[in-house]
Symmetry: C2
Subunit: 117 residues, 2 copies
DNA sequence: CTGTATCCCCCCAGATACTG
DNA sequence: CAGTATCTGGGGGGATACAG
């Protein structure tokens, strides 16, 4: 059964939309931030740093970030295997903004606490 | 039919996660940005500004933003009805970051074009 | 003009098992 | 250690109709 094509398949309607498509998603923000804090993180370290993520989602998200040129993936050919993830230059450009967002988040969380009392 | 409040579905694992939960979603970024650009927008104007949104999603998203105290909703009791949306002070605090993100997006889009040629 | 109310599809993401 | 593979469901979001 032919369904009508969706209104906007994949083209971003504006640059804000474009940017949100690239850093949106359930885990991307945190991954980028943790990579900023630690500079280099291995797969297992990321998995432990994000307690609620599954290996499937972690791999998938990392691949998307890599495809979008926000992170680098370096594989060491040794046993046991070792893979390191780092921010690319383009990815690093996002840090000031995530940093700002984090401060805003901290502030709001604090405000909520005060209000609750 | 009242549904359970959606403003804070789950506990955020960190402030980055918290912030992304509040501005994430398919349309929130653009809505906040357009409200910044125009200061005041009516429901119909927002609907026209986001060509790919349905009334259902627009209403739903606006309600969430309102519940999160990022936008204000002012109703004029007249015929025909008139509703105006504006950014709250808390919402305005997000503008520098969205602005930064927009510039980043513009830059990436430009870079993609150059690369394509 | 500013929304509600339904119906329903698709896909994100979780759970689990397995592999080089 | 660093991932695939497969199955599954829940809900985000689309289309449409209608109301105050």
């Amino acid at each position: 059964m032919q369904k009508k094509e969706k209104a906007c398949p994949e083209v971003a309607t504006c640059s804000v939309d474009y940017a949100f498509k690239r850093i949106g998603g359930k885990y991307k923000g945190r991954i980028l931030w943790y990579l900023h804090e630690h500079a280099i993180l291995r797969y297992g370290e990321l998995n432990r740093t994000l307690p609620d993520i599954t290996t499937k989602m972690l791999t998938q998200t990392l691949r998307e970030l890599e495809a979008d040129n926000l992170i680098d993936r370096k594989v060491y050919l040794e046993v046991p295997p070792k893979v390191e993830y780092t921010l690319t230059e383009v990815g690093k450009e996002l840090i000031p903004f995530i940093s700002y967002l984090k401060e805003w988040g901290d502030k709001q969380i604090e405000a909520e606490k005060t209000k609750a009392k």
